[in-house]
């Protein structure tokens, strides 16, 4: 049987700066944990949040939807979000949906 890939997510907050680092496949099984990590960072006082997808190996529509919801929340609640993009293979869902232009991607 094929083993599921490793998925890890960490939250770091210092002052009003927060960093959510994601590693592994971001899909329907793991995307809810991304939202949980974001809410934790906000509760700890983060108002400038970086979501680092640099070690993400795959993103599906569930991961995309979680990031879109995050972007909308940042606009509604007036905090800053920036997203560090995953590698080329995991970026496909953003490109074909146009989200590569709509989400606040930034260079590391």
């Amino acid at each position: 049987m094929v083993k599921p890939s490793k998925f890890e997510i960490t939250v770091q907050v210092s002052g009003d700066e927060g960093r959510v680092t994601v590693e592994g496949d971001l899909d329907m099984a793991t995307a809810p944990r991304l939202d949980g990590a974001l809410q934790e960072a906000l509760q700890l006082g983060a108002r400038q949040v970086t979501v680092d997808l640099g070690a993400v190996t795959f993103v599906d529509s569930s991961g995309l939807r979680a990031l879109i919801a995050m972007h909308r929340q940042s606009q509604d609640d007036d905090w800053e979000l920036r997203i560090l993009r995953p590698g080329e293979g995991a970026f496909t869902v953003f490109q074909i949906s146009g989200a590569d232009q709509a989400l606040p991607f930034a260079e590391g």
């Binding site: 049987m1 094929v2 599921p4 890939s5 496949d25 899909d27 329907m28 099984a29 795959f58 599906d60 529509s61 569930s62 995309l64 939807r65 080329e88 293979g89 995991a90 496909t92 869902v93 074909i96 949906s97």
Partner: protein, 141 residues
């Protein structure tokens, strides 16, 4: 695509042994299906980016099974893949509520749009014995 690239792709295409996965329609098995089909696509000769596209499309089809086929319960999710040197075909089928349960927009709409964007052909219909749903996608090798 220039001529040398076409020839290279043609030489790289192989016909790996057919893949058959008998899984359950739960989120964790979506990843299992995706990874197994990805390895099959590698053996069939697809490159890194093409494999990513196949994995994404297959994952969305499997996610639709999890979301819609069995309501709050779960059931079988069967994935099979074949390749003939020119194209690779992947089918995802279930014994669930059938195609009418899928026509709901939202998550399914986005997933289906992604599948359409990534595969060469997409067929959606009832399973072999008229039950459930069968999604079949082909990808050029």
């Amino acid at each position: 695509v220039n001529q040398s690239a076409t020839e290279s792709a043609s030489h790289a295409a192989r016909s790996p042994r057919d893949l058959l996965l008998e899984l359950t329609g739960v989120p964790e098995d979506v990843a299992r299906a995706r990874h197994a089909v990805g390895r099959f696509a590698l053996e069939a000769g697809l490159d890194h980016l093409e494999i990513g596209a196949v994995e994404l499309a297959v994952g969305e089809a499997c996610a639709n099974v999890v979301r819609h086929a069995y309501g709050p319960s779960t059931g079988a999710m069967i994935v099979d893949a074949t390749a003939d040197g020119e194209r690779m075909q992947v089918s995802i089928r279930d014994d669930g509520a059938g195609i009418r349960s899928r026509i709901s927009g939202g998550a399914t709409g986005l997933g289906t749009a992604i599948m359409i964007a990534l595969c060469d052909t997409l067929e959606v219909g009832a399973g072999p014995d008229g039950r459930g749903t069968r999604v079949t996608m082909t990808f050029a090798l």
